[in-house]
């Protein structure tokens, strides 16, 4: 109780230090609000929707990166290839159905099929994640004593090369896409016309993130994942099987990237190097938000999308990559651990 009376007079000071500690967050929030207002004034609701739809997708990809880095300490540079695999799987699942539908139209199958294709892509991603983790990272982990982050990073770059060129070898460099998933007219929301594909892509990303969030916060295994990211040894001591959690985490991240590739097939198409652009944006997001921070990755996704949209509106479309990158560099100069820092410590720091 005596302690309280000592700290109480310092309340004003502690408010100041609180502001100081959260300065990056405050600055970013203020800038975001100003940018949002500017985008709304210049572009109207349709551009605001644009921010949310793109942001949802970057968030979905970035959450996977953050999870893999936070739990396994892998800077994952083959995440874009999971996106690519998702796009291909969705194409090869959906296209035969689409051709079949052209012969025998069926409203019900037409509505259900795209969801089916996205689901199949997600499952394929989960399986791919298990194979990569068990086959490549688990053996590396058992042999590595030092320099895990560097080894893992080089390995992901290697995986990326193999998958990209493998796809090129087997499927060729052609673009495979669908004009759209749902053969219906755009809908009007608050004065803006949005294609149903875009709206559903946004819904899918939000739903996936929501399910993941619930899983991490409220379930036994989700809690174990967070435990591993905070203290690997402690997690083992309470009886958590580290290998299982690591495989599961990697599998989840891969599945999320595949879902995102599948639900954006109408926008990106499927070709061997389709994963590069989404990968870079997802990395902007996690670097800006703070490596390994899942909540930060979600908010960061929307911030990067906001930057992109406002660049397109106020500068020029060709500057879309330049300005978010410049902002990222600026953020890293001013706040090296990212806007939201990271309450998840990397495994190496312990």
């Amino acid at each position: 109780m005596a302690k309280d009376s000592i700290t109480r007079p310092a309340t004003q000071e502690s408010l100041m230090t609180r502001i100081k500690d959260n300065l990056p967050i405050i600055i970013v929030s203020v800038f975001s609000i100003i940018l949002f207002a500017a985008v709304y004034i210049k572009g109207g609701t349709s551009q605001i929707f644009n921010v949310f739809i793109t942001g949802g997708m970057w968030a979905l990809l970035a959450v996977g990166l953050a999870l893999v880095f936070g739990v396994m300490n892998i800077p994952h540079f083959a995440h874009g290839e999971s996106f690519m695999v998702g796009a291909y799987v969705a194409y090869f699942t959906f296209n035969p159905i689409r051709e079949y539908l052209q012969q025998n139209p069926s409203k019900f199958i037409g509505i259900i099929a795209p969801f089916g294709a996205i689901l199949v892509a997600g499952l394929a991603g989960a399986v791919l994640g298990v194979i990569i983790e068990r086959g490549i990272f688990a053996p590396l982990r058992h042999r590595t004593k030092e320099g895990w982050v560097m080894n893992a990073f080089l390995l992901t770059v290697g995986i990326s090369f193999v998958l990209t060129n493998g796809a090129n070898l087997v499927l060729g460099p052609n673009f495979r896409g669908v004009p759209r998933y749902w053969d219906v007219d755009a809908v009007e929301i608050a004065g803006a016309y949005m294609s149903v594909d875009r709206l559903i892509a946004f819904g899918v990303s939000m739903l996936t993130i929501g399910v993941l969030w619930f899983f991490l916060r409220r379930t036994r295994i989700g809690r174990a994942i967070r435990a591993v990211s905070q203290d690997e040894t402690g997690a083992q001591l309470v009886g958590i099987n580290l290998n299982f959690i690591q495989t599961l985490t990697f599998s989840l991240a891969t599945a999320m990237a595949a879902i995102s590739g599948a639900s954006l097939l109408f926008l990106f198409q499927a070709y061997p190097t389709v994963g590069a652009t989404p990968l870079y944006y997802a990395w902007y997001v996690v670097m800006m938000a703070g490596l390994g921070n899942v909540a930060g990755a979600i908010i960061g996704g929307f911030i990067v999308a906001l930057l992109q949209t406002s660049t397109q509106l106020f500068v020029a479309v060709s500057w879309t990559t330049v300005i978010p990158t410049a902002v990222m560099i600026l953020v890293l100069l001013l706040a090296p651990s990212g806007i939201f820092g990271s309450d998840v410590k990397g495994v190496q720091e312990q």
Partner: protein
């Protein structure tokens, strides 16, 4: 009767540096046994070998007559051994309650989990007051309590406790020791590593002295305490 825990001729090393040279010891059910010795004698290494964080180069670790070296840590933990490390290894960004629930990770029965939680809160009322506080924001003594409590949540048969008095002021040390005694009275077997030799020998049943990776002496704590070498080397008398 087979002892609950038995170490036979354990040799263990970190890379090329051998730390344990043929350590043998045993702990019977219901005992509170101390493992004492100077810095670098291999006390913590012994505990880390038992729980499986280090696998011994040779020798055997038996738990209830079953060989457990070469088993992964999580399996050894699920067999009923809890290790409270000196670093504590708490989940610092989680609340006290979440830390405790994770302690009972291997117990799937929700009701059993809650019953243990209630029992823990009864044993450490301080933790119930702070159950929503993040583990990383607690004081040193409270963290130590939390680590011991988390180790209890799995209802272990055997607890390995590594230097609970490290960095604590004397009256808090007494609290921690009292908690350990209470656990012993409730039937938990404890193997305790300590630097605080005098106090430890006062409340433990038996003790082993470890020097340069070898067990040099063992016996009831009272006899160890009366030993001339121990009095000279560890108590400065």
């Amino acid at each position: 009767m087979t002892p609950m825990l038995e170490l036979k001729n354990i040799n263990a090393s970190y890379d090329f540096l051998q730390v344990l040279w043929g350590v043998s010891l045993n702990v019977d059910k219901g005992e509170l046994v101390a493992l004492i010795g100077p810095n670098g004698a291999g006390k913590s290494t012994t505990l880390r070998t038992i729980i499986g964080l280090i696998s011994p180069k040779s020798g055997e670790v038996l738990f209830n007559g079953k060989i457990i070296n070469n088993m992964p840590v999580y399996q050894i933990s699920r067999m009923g051994i809890s290790y409270v490390s000196e670093k504590l290894n708490l989940f610092t960004a989680m609340s006290v309650q979440e830390n405790l629930i994770l302690g009972a990770f291997a117990i799937r029965d929700k009701e059993k989990q809650l019953a243990t939680l209630a029992y823990i809160f009864e044993l450490f009322p301080r933790l119930e007051e702070r159950k929503n506080q993040l583990a990383g924001t607690m004081s040193g003594g409270e963290r130590k309590m939390l680590a011991i409590a988390r180790g209890m949540m799995s209802m272990p048969q055997l607890m390995l406790v590594d230097e609970p008095s490290l960095g604590l002021q004397p009256n808090l040390t007494r609290n921690v020791f009292d908690a350990l005694l209470q656990l012993r009275d409730r039937g938990v077997t404890i193997l305790l590593v300590e630097q605080n030799v005098n106090a430890t020998l006062n409340f433990t049943d038996r003790a082993y002295i470890l020097e340069q990776g070898k067990t040099v002496m063992s016996g009831p704590s009272k006899e160890i305490k009366a030993n001339k070498h121990v009095r000279n080397a560890y108590m400065g008398i």
